[in-house]
Amino acid sequence: MSAPLLEVQNLHVEFDTYGGTVRAVRGVDFKVEAGRTLAIVGESGCGKSVTVQAMMGLIPMPPGRIMQGSAKLRGVEILGRKTIEGREVRGAEIGMIFQDPMSSLNPTMTIGDQIAEPLIVHRGYSRSKAWARALELLKLVRIPEAEKRAKQYPFEFSGGMLQRAMIAMAISCKPTVLIADEPTTALDVTIQAQILDLLKDLQNETGMALILITHDLGVVARMADDVAVMYAGQIVESGSVDDVFYRSSHPYTLGLKLAMPNNDPGRHDTLQPIEGSPPDLFSPPVGCAYAARCPHSMRVCEARSPEQFDVAPRHYSRCWLHHAQSPHRADGLFLGGGNE
């Protein structure tokens, strides 16, 4: 196996607030390979956006702080650096698109100018060359009547069209990694399907790696090769999409699946909500962060934070149930339940 394109190790991020220090990201590790899609999935406040913002140097410091950890692109550290090997990390190496395209674009500039600007600034393109490239990019993301649309302002675009324009901007410098932070959350399902198809096609054409941040397990199932499930600032389970969906090995992943309706015509299971709410990250629990909500919690779970256990090759779970001496290991918990 080739070395990973991007590897994040033991990342810790904190924020100072009036209420104290929030430990938003508490030791995150993941790898992304070229041409593959990693989905980082989790609920609001689990730290999924902060993780990628830290990589991109988008954390305001202060109040934010990267306590420790590394993020290496092709083996070169990118945390705290603006350029590596003569290329900007942000934009040229890693492109990013955000959930709300309306607030991420400049309302006073035409779409065409906004796409052309980074090419002029970072690539030294002439105005006319940059404009021509902007039109090409708009066509690439399938915006109809690109010449006319390029001269329009963001308020003249629908949400789906704005997201296409954002994607055009993010891929303008041909990044090796594209981060999409909830790219379709604000969109309707038919438009979501269009944008997801577009991202897949662009990935097939360019071979870029895609990091997709989402809370929607349907989008994960559609897009991901690999999945990392985050909870309270940590990755609690990671593996291939099939491992995580069909052989879920963390009670939180199982809980998420049981809390969602399945569309199996023969079945009508009652939804099983996860009771309670995620812990306060001002003072994270000593043990497993999920223990208070976990139906399988043991005494050790509250006392000691579980390490990452190998469930299978490239499939990890941060859960004491997988400890070699756990009495419940053979109970078949992870065979029944949500794992049909």
Partner: protein, 318 residues
């Protein structure tokens, strides 16, 4: 089952000046039976929320009628009409942040309806509000706190308690779970189902999450650009959609199952929902429909029964 709400040719147009009108809800007719849950789906701008609010008199009706237990509801609600009807017809709103007054305590918010309708004394209303807080899974000692002290899911429970304390018969739930995380969505949906069963409620459940609508509802209604495209028993509509728009909508809904998703072809519908200003004659979906025929552009299809199921479809294909 007897009919509780009958909607008959209901329209709501918004005047936007220069003689132009937004056709938010256009000539919609269907009925809701007592104790039934009708799920209403459609993309943003399809008019689902406007329909819900017009039903309850929160918008004036531009044309058509709504009958409640056989009585026609007024076109324009006066405050006396709200006094008369809102006890029985309530609403739960989408955004649990903007729909609760930040300057009122939770107890005041929940008890307000009882006091406005002069149903009991302030002391009794307070006791009842405390009872309802417990019933929706919060604690009675949360009464004196303010909305900002609660999470999204807890606020939605407060919104539910506020609607339910009047013991209504009919509740419009306008995207009650869209703003919530998955694990909390299930809590709120289960709470709504329990209350629906124990109070014998009739619900219009507006949502864009098709899987959740299928889970919750008895019947599913699909709106597009102000018009009703298809309505029928939920599994018929979800698993055997007939209207080309419903087919595309359901085919676009990603399922949390990698095998299903790998087998799913790219849905490939082009274009976006057009402007609802001065909608032309003909089928509203004609401009995006993969099966469009000449007749679709000139003649507006009407809802009709097309097979031996209870489903109605507005499409010239059938």
């Amino acid at each position: 089952m007897s009919e509780l709400v009958r909607i008959d040719g209901l329209s709501k147009y918004f005047d936007i000046g220069k003689g132009q009108k937004v056709h938010a809800v256009d000539k919609i007719s269907f009925s809701i039976a007592e104790r039934e849950i009708v799920g209403l789906v459609g993309e943003s701008g399809s008019g689902k929320s406007t329909l819900g609010k017009t039903l309850l008199g929160l918008h004036d009706k531009s044309a058509g009628e709504v009958h409640y237990r056989g009585t026609a509801l007024p076109r324009h609600y006066t405050s006396a009409d709200f006094q008369r009807y809102s006890r029985k017809m309530q609403m739960i709103f989408q955004d649990p942040y903007s729909s609760l007054n930040p300057r009122m305590t939770v107890g005041e918010i929940i008890a307000e309806g009882l006091l406005l309708h002069r149903l009991m004394s302030a002391a009794q209303a307070r006791d009842k509000a405390a009872h309802w807080l417990e019933k929706v899974g919060l604690h009675a000692d949360h009464m004196s706190r303010y909305p900002h002290e609660f999470s999204g899911g807890q606020r939605q429970r407060i919104g539910i308690a506020r609607a339910m304390i009047l013991e209504p018969e009919f509740v419009v739930c306008d995207e009650p779970i869209s703003a919530l995380d998955v694990s909390v969505q299930a809590q709120v949906v289960n709470l709504l189902s329990e209350l629906q069963a124990s109070m014998g409620l009739t619900l219009l459940f507006i949502a864009h999450d098709l899987s959740m609508v299928r889970y919750v509802s008895d019947r599913m209604a699909v709106m597009y650009l102000g018009a009703l495209m298809e309505i029928g028993p939920v599994d018929d509509v979800y698993f055997r959609p007939l209207h080309p728009y419903t087919q595309i909508l359901i085919a676009s809904n990603p399922e949390p199952d990698p095998d299903i998703e790998r087998a799913r072809p790219s849905t490939g519908i082009q274009g976006e929902i057009p402007s609802p200003v001065d909608v032309p004659e003909g089928c509203r979906f004609a401009g995006r429909c993969p099966k469009v025929m000449d007749v679709c552009r000139g003649t507006t299809p009407v809802l009709k029964k097309v097979d031996d199921s209870e489903r109605l479809v507005a499409c010239h294909l059938y």
